[in-house]
Structure formats: structure tokens, C-alpha cells
């Protein structure tokens, strides 16, 4: 690839979309801080800048390093997830490791590690092998081990994302249809078992979700207020810094998980559609890299990463609009919080890297 085609190959649409989202996020955080330029607004901008630096660094690592490092990454994160109940910190749920300068949440990079390792494993299978059920057993383990470890923390949202992201990669890799149906059947049969494994508060959330009005002041409070805020925004919203729900502190977690609600209240249906549109452009450009790529590794990784971004957006917006129960999921690049943002920039870095190597064959990568 010469320089011109390299520059053209870079997913500019994705980068632009992310930049706009970061700006929207900064504006939303400014509004959430009662229209005061607080340190958290500044932090948000600073972290995005670091994120872009990180992404440009990853973009230029030789792709076979990523390929080879995927197993070590996966294994390392599984180790961290295993020991986290003993060394981790966190109120209620133990999700973080204190690194001194920041709290690190291993379940976030786990999403990426699972996808990379799965893609490596599956892209190395020969074409004779993909019809055999036995080769999918290790794949299921690659997904299941971190998923279960995260669910035990407990973190339903992230666990679900690791699981669905992994399943998407396996599905795309070309599993024969009969195994797909087998998988669905097995999952359906295990739902009662999973229910038994859930914590009481997780069950309560799911039940509240089914009938939120029953418990308006308890767990249903957040979702009721969020719906009022979004609904009262109407078509064009109440105007920037004018959202009464948000500004009067009716909206819980307005800087983090419920930031979409704040935007929806102040900028209305037009505002919420804009956000969804930009995210879909980003997801589309990741999928586009996969569709154009010549090697299986890239195609599988792109499918997985597109799914991760999609899940972030879907779970968050579905949650604040009352389509899904409150599971505690951030809206990357807009919500205040470092780890989801870090993951998204990691994804950006990998996507740029992949897009620079789409003409390579699998042999060249491994």
C-alpha cells in the first residue's frame, strides 16, 4: 500500500463521528454541572485527547503483533478477573483494580480481548474443520469463562456484552446452521439456571422493568423520571441548559448512565436522533472495514467490534427509554467515565490498524 491509499483507507468517517460525539458529550456534561465549567468537564476533554493519542499509537502497531498478543491478553485478563474478588475495590460490586492513578476495570478490555482471541482461533481453522462441532467447544470456552467471571462480580451489563460480542464472532465465522439452532436451544434451556444464579437486586431490576409504575419511588424512580425528561423534551427540546428535569436534579446519574436523557430533554427528538445516527455511522464504518477485508481475522474482529459498539449504544438508550431494565451501562464518548471511553478508543485504534491491512491475506497476518 502506498501512502495515498493508506490515508484513504483510514476510517475518517468513524474518527469524525467520534470527535463530534466527544464534543456533544462535553456540552452535555457542562449542562449537567449546572452550566459551570467543572473539573469533570475538563477531565472528559482531557481523556478524549489521551484516547485519540492511544488510538493513533495502536493504529501503527504491526497487525501480526496484535494477532499474536491476543492469547496473552485474553489469558491475562482472565487471570485478573479471577483474582479481582480478592484484590479489587468497589462499593457493592467488585469491578475495579486500583492502579494508584486510576481505577481499572478489567471487564472492559475483556470485551476486546475475547473478540481478538476468538478471531485468531477461528481464522486459523481450515475449511474442512468448520463443519465439525468439536472445534466450537474451545470457542465457547473463550467466551464463557470471562462472561461468567464478570457476571459473578456482579455486572450484568458488561457480562452480557462480552457474551453477545463473542457469539456474534462465532456466528459470523460460518458455523453451520444446525449448530446455530443447537446453540439457541441450549441457551433457552439454561435460562432458568441463569435466573437462579442472579443476585436479588438483579432480579428486582428485571421485575421492576416489567412493571415500573408499580414501584415509582424505588427502583422504578430513575426510569420514570428519565421517561418524563425525554418525553417533555418533545420535538426540539427545552433548549440548552434549560432542561428542568436535569437541572432540578430529578434525573439520577445525569452525568453518566443517563446523559442521553439530558440531551433528549434539552434537544428533543431531533437531538436524540442525531446521536443515534452518528453512532450508526460509526458502527457502519466498522462493519464496512470487515466487508472489504480480504482476511478472515479482520472480518471477524470487525464484526465483533461493531457488535460491542452497537451493544453499548443499544443497552444504554434502551435502558434510559425503559425498553430494557436499568443495568448500569454508559454511553461511550458522551458519558462521564474513563473506562468505556478507553475501550472505544481502543476499538478505534484497532479499526484504523485493520483498515490499513485489509489487502493482506490471513497467511501474512499470522
Amino acid at each position: 500500500m502506498n501512502w495515498t491509499s493508506k490515508i484513504l483507507a483510514i476510517p475518517w468517517l468513524m474518527i469524525t463521528g467520534m470527535l463530534i460525539l466527544v464534543i456533544i458529550g462535553t456540552m452535555a456534561l457542562y449542562s449537567a454541572s449546572d452550566g459551570v465549567w467543572t473539573s469533570s468537564v475538563q477531565q472528559h476533554l482531557l481523556r478524549s485527547a489521551i484516547g485519540f493519542l492511544l488510538a493513533s499509537f495502536i493504529a501503527f502497531i504491526p497487525i501480526n503483533w496484535i494477532f499474536r498478543a491476543s492469547f496473552i491478553m485474553w489469558a491475562f485478563i482472565v487471570c485478573l478477573l479471577t483474582v479481582i474478588p480478592f484484590i479489587g475495590v468497589g462499593a457493592g460490586a467488585t469491578r475495579w483494580i486500583n492502579l494508584g492513578f486510576m481505577n481499572f476495570q478489567p471487564s472492559e478490555p475483556a470485551k476486546i480481548a475475547v473478540i481478538l482471541f476468538l478471531a485468531r482461533y477461528l481464522s486459523l481453522r481450515t475449511f474442512d474443520q468448520i463443519d465439525k462441532l468439536i472445534i466450537y467447544l474451545p470457542a465457547v470456552f473463550i467466551v464463557a469463562i470471562p462472561t461468567l467471571l464478570v457476571l459473578r462480580q456482579p455486572d450484568l451489563g458488561t457480562g452480557l456484552m462480552i457474551f453477545v460480542g463473542g457469539i456474534a464472532v462465532i456466528f459470523v465465522s460460518g458455523v453451520p446452521k444446525r449448530y446455530v439452532f443447537l446453540g439457541i436451544g441450549t441457551f433457552a434451556a439454561s435460562i432458568p439456571i441463569i435466573w437462579g444464579q442472579l443476585y436479588d437486586y438483579q432480579k428486582a431490576r428485571l421485575l421492576t422493568f416489567l412493571n415500573p409504575e408499580k414501584d415509582v419511588l424505588g427502583a422504578g424512580w430513575q426510569i420514570t423520571q428519565s421517561k418524563i425528561a425525554l418525553g417533555s423534551g418533545g420535538l426540539f427540546g427545552k433548549g440548552y441548559l434549560q432542561g428542568s428535569q436535569s437541572q432540578l436534579d430529578y434525573l439520577p446519574e445525569k452525568q453518566t448512565d443517563f446523559v442521553f436523557t439530558l440531551i433528549g430533554e434539552e434537544f428533543g427528538f431531533v437531538g436524540s436522533m442525531t446521536i443515534i445516527f452518528i453512532y450508526f455511522l460509526i458502527i457502519l464504518s466498522i462493519t464496512g472495514i470487515g466487508l472489504r477485508a480480504k482476511n478472515r481475522f479482520t472480518r471477524l474482529v470487525a464484526s465483533g467490534l461493531a457488535m460491542v459498539v452497537f451493544l453499548y449504544v443499544f443497552i444504554n438508550i434502551a435502558m434510559v427509554t425503559g425498553v430494557l431494565p436499568v443495568v448500569g451501562a454508559p454511553l461511550p464518548l458522551i458519558s462521564y467515565g474513563g473506562t468505556a471511553m478507553l475501550t472505544t478508543f481502543l476499538i478505534l485504534g484497532i479499526c484504523i490498524n485493520l483498515s490499513l491491512n485489509i489487502v493482506k491475506e490471513d497467511i501474512e497476518i499470522s
Binding site: F127, I130, A168, F171, V172, S173, G174, Q225, K227, I228, A229, L230, G231, S232, G233, G234, L235, Q242, S244, Q245, L248, D249, Y250, G264, G268, F269, S272, M273, I276, F280, I283, L284, T287, G290, L291, R296, R299, L300, A302, S303, A306, M307, F310, F314, I317, A318, T321, G322, V323
Partner: protein, 650 residues
Amino acid sequence: MAKKRKEIQEVSNQISRRMLLVGGLQVVFGLILVGRLYQLQILDSDSYLKLSEKNQFDHRLVIAPRGRILDSKNRLLAGNSEVFELVVIPARTKDLKKLLYNIDAIIGLSGEDINRIIEIAKNQPDFLGISIKSNLTQRELSHLAIRSAVLEGVLFQKNFNRIYPQGKLLSHVTGYVSGITESEVKKNRQLQRLVGLKTGKSGLEKSLDESLRGIVGKERIEVNSRGKPVSFISDRLPKQGNDHQLTIDIDIQSYAVHRLKLGNSEQVELAKSSVQEAINKDAALRAHINIGETMILRDANSRYVPPETGAVVIMDIHTGAIVAMASSPAYDPNLFAGRLTNRAWHNLNKHPRVPLLNRVIAGLYSPGSTFKMVVYAAALEAGVISSDTSYTCRGFFEFGDRNFYCWQEKGHGTVNGRQAISQSCDVYFYQIALKTGIDRIQNMAIRMGLGVMTDVGIPGEKLGIMPNRAWKKNNRGTVWTPGETVIAGIGQGFVLTTPIQLAVMTARLANGKKAVKARLLADLIKNSEDFLPLNINSTVLREIQRSMRSVVSSTRGTARRYELDGYGMAGKTGTVQVKRISKIEREEGIIENIDRRWKDRDHALFVGYAPYDKPKYAISVIVEHGGSGSSMAAPIARDILKFALERLKI
């Protein structure tokens, strides 16, 4: 090998198909979100908007007590008193009109009040409270409390009333507060929810409003099924606004106000029957009584007259601190904090002597002869004359086809600059103004602070006019004429200044080194960096100062009768003609000021500073239609300077 390639292609196609399938699923799920948002934000928007308004109503904002304004010795100039306010929330009443009639039967409301409340209720959301009556008395409170069962939807709210313990003394400086206006609500919708909030409408109350207002508290009200509040949870306590200390000394202020109003007359007892009789007959006197004036004077002709109208400002020549600024007539700011009746407002607003006007910063006057220092300094600096240059005054100056007269009909004879200042010879200044040119005079005036905003912090300050050739061209569209320079030489014509600008000029002349600026806030004095240098040659300044001294000290000085014993005063008188004396009047000899109608009399001005050797205070005095600067303004200035200087010894 071909088979292998075909297989690879097949798997590749399979992967593409599945990617598209997953992508399609993502789009479908995305559309679910779009549909959900459409339902929430478009279809059900109205019902959610109602719910959100209900939330606002349940979330009350609590007004913070307003910050205080204090004088230089921490005496209260503006403060708060706690009052109870009766508030109605229309959403909680069935029939607002009936309720108001019920309340009227208990405490008595005016028809005006009832109409006002109904009008407000029509124009704002019904969950917002409306103040029915503020400042409830103990008696009213108890009467209402007994019948509270039949008064649905009303509540008592603790509130603050603004009080100005100094009454009329400082109304133009502090300004006043009153209820929020529609235009304020338009700018900030939150204000609508602060029932009973009062904001600054003039003076420092207006310019410092945001700082004085403090931070509103937030209170959550839990309501039972019938909408009655059952408990108040404080989310954020209100934070009292900031206090502000002024440079004003209320004692000096009080004396200055009194002395200015007194003029050269004698105060009489208001209760005297002859005074009452005069008030009944004289509409001008009545207008003063109607705005709360209690001072009535007897002038030299033994007529009963209202107090003098005018302005005084006295400031520290080193720090710029204004220790007193008086504008007469004044008003009582306490009137506005309560409910101002239409009648009281009419009395203030239609008063012929405009009590709402702060003459110190917004009264525009020709500086008259007080401008001569500027012309003299400009001429000396330009080198067109020296301090020895003399001219002969024969009572008029012939220029072109026109005579410009000196106030001294017989003429001053041959005078040098210092004598011309001391005796206020007009002819001398006509000539040196012509030699110097208007542009250089204007430049000097600007450096002295004339025609420049003092930005002392009170809203509504006027710039005045300090003309030059470019100004005339831009504003009148015509060329500047030399005749206009001639009359500018004695501070008349286009030149317009404010009393505070004249005080700043005097302070700079007395200081001699720094371009002192007027300051009203004590913080500015404490933290201010040094003033810019004045940049006027010290020998020129020395000559100006000596000339100003001779106005008081020389045997022919215009203020020779008003020496400030023990300190020594320097200054300059000014008498500004308001109405040209007609030829007939001149011939008939009715030229004594006191014999003319008040409106036709001359303005009296004096600027000065003291002590002469070690200057401390500069003052400017303007008495509207007060007669001559030397007989009216100079003694007022002398007495106020004396009072202020004496206080330094305490």
C-alpha cells in the same frame, strides 16, 4: 486446488452474508429505539410535559437573603428584615376569585390587588405561586391562621423585605429593589419560580444585583394524595448574597445632603401655620411634601421655598474614595421595597425637579468658569502663553462681527493668568482659548477626566460632551467655528459635564501626579493597583494650584469671603447662565437673581480642594438655579470640606 479455491470463496461469501445479517439485526434493534423515542418524545410528549411541570412545582426554590450594603465604617445602608408573605397557588384552589374575596374579607385587599393577582394567574403556569400580600402584620397573620381551613391553596412564606435605614440620604447611591419584571423573567425563566423575589432596579442594587442576590436554595416538597405539602426536604440551603462596603461615610453624607438643601436660606418649622398655609397655596412646595420632604426654607425675600436642587460630591484626592455624594431632591428607596402605590409613583415620576435622577452622575451641566483651569493648563502646556502673559479686559472681547462680554461689565483691566482665574475674567480666557485651539483644550479636558465615564459603578452614568473639531463634524455635520472656541474658553457652548467629572478633575489638579479615578466600593480601594500618571508638567500644575488658591486668598478673588480657616482652601467658582438676560430686562434693571423666576436663575458651581498645603479632599458643588457660584456654591463647598476634615481628627 480449484476445489480448494471454490471452497474459500464459499466460506468468504458465507461470512459476508452473516455480517450483513448481523448488521441488519442491528438496524432492526436500532429502529426499535427510534420508534420508542418517537413514542416518548412526539406521541406522548404533552403528557410527559405536564408531569415534568408537576415535578417543578414539587421542587421549590428558596430565596436567599440579599447581601448588605455598608458604609466605610460598617454602618448599615441596605439590609433585610424578615416578613411573612401570603402566597396563593392557583393550581390548588377551585375558584381563585372567590378565594381572593374571602381573603379580602379577612385582611382587606384593594380591587387593584385582586385584579393584579387574577391577571398574573392568567399569564403563568398555575402551579407557580403568586404573592397576595407581603409584609403581613402579626394581626393579619393570626386572623388568617384561624380561618386557614376555608382558605384552600394559600400558604405563608417567610420572606425578606429590603430596608434602607438611612432613608432618603443615600437613595441615589444604593438605588432600590422591587419585584421582578416581565423582561427579567424572559431572560431567566427560573426567576418566575421565586415568589416574592426582589431585584435591584437602580443604583448599586442594580449593578451589584447578581452578587447581592446570593444563591437560591432548593427544597423538595413531599405532597400527600390531596396535594398538601407534608414535609420539606432541603436539598441545598440558600446562601446569603455578598456584603458590599462603600467608601461613603454616612455622617459626611448626611451633612452634605443637609447643607446642600439649605443653601443660603433658613430652615423653618413645618408645623407653623404660616408654613402650612404657604404649602396649601404653592404647588411647587406641595410637590416636595408629597415625596416626603420635611425641610422647608425661608429665603432672603422671606418667601417660603423648597430646599435647593443640585449635587455635591466629595472625594479623597489620593485614593479616589468618594466619601459623600448627594443629589437633591431625593426619594425614599424603602417605598419601592414594599408595594409602591400608583399615587406615590406618580408623585416621584412627575415631580418637576426629577427626584429619581442621580444628578451626580447623570446631571449634565455646562461647567462654566470651573472649566477655566483646563483652558489655562492647555494654554500653558502648549506654550502659547506664559504665566506672565497679560491681557486687558474692557468688559467685552470683539471677535469678528460680534462682542463677547465679560461678566464684569466695567472690565477687569490688565490681568495675568492667575488674576484672570482669581477674578474669573472671561475676556482673558476668550483670547487664550482662541490661541490654544479647541483640540488642545479638549485633549487637556479628557486627561482631567471631563467627558470621560468615571465608571464608578452606578448605572445610568452620562458621558457629557467634550467637543473638538472632529466631534462637531461627526455630530453636527458642520465645521467648528472660532467663535465656538471662544465660548468654550469659559466652559459654555457645547461643553457638558457631570458633577462627578468635575470632582475628578479637581482631584487630579490637587493630586498633581496621578490620574485619580472615582471609587465607590471599598474593595477597589484596598486592592486597586496604582493610578496612571497624570503626565502634566509640574510647573504648569503648580501655577494652576496657586491660581485656584488665589480665588479664595486674594483680595479680589471671587470666593474671598469663604476661606476655610485653619486649612486653607483652593477652588474655582462658576456661574452658568440658564436664560440670557434680555435687553429690556437689562434696561429695566431686573437682573438680581433672587427676583427672577426660579427656572430662569443661573446655576451656581464651585469646585475646590483642601487643605491647600496638604490636599486631602476635592469637592464639586452644583446648585441648580442657585444664583452665583461665589455666593451660593462656594460656602456650601467650604462647609462640607470643613465638616469632612474635622472628622479626620476624631
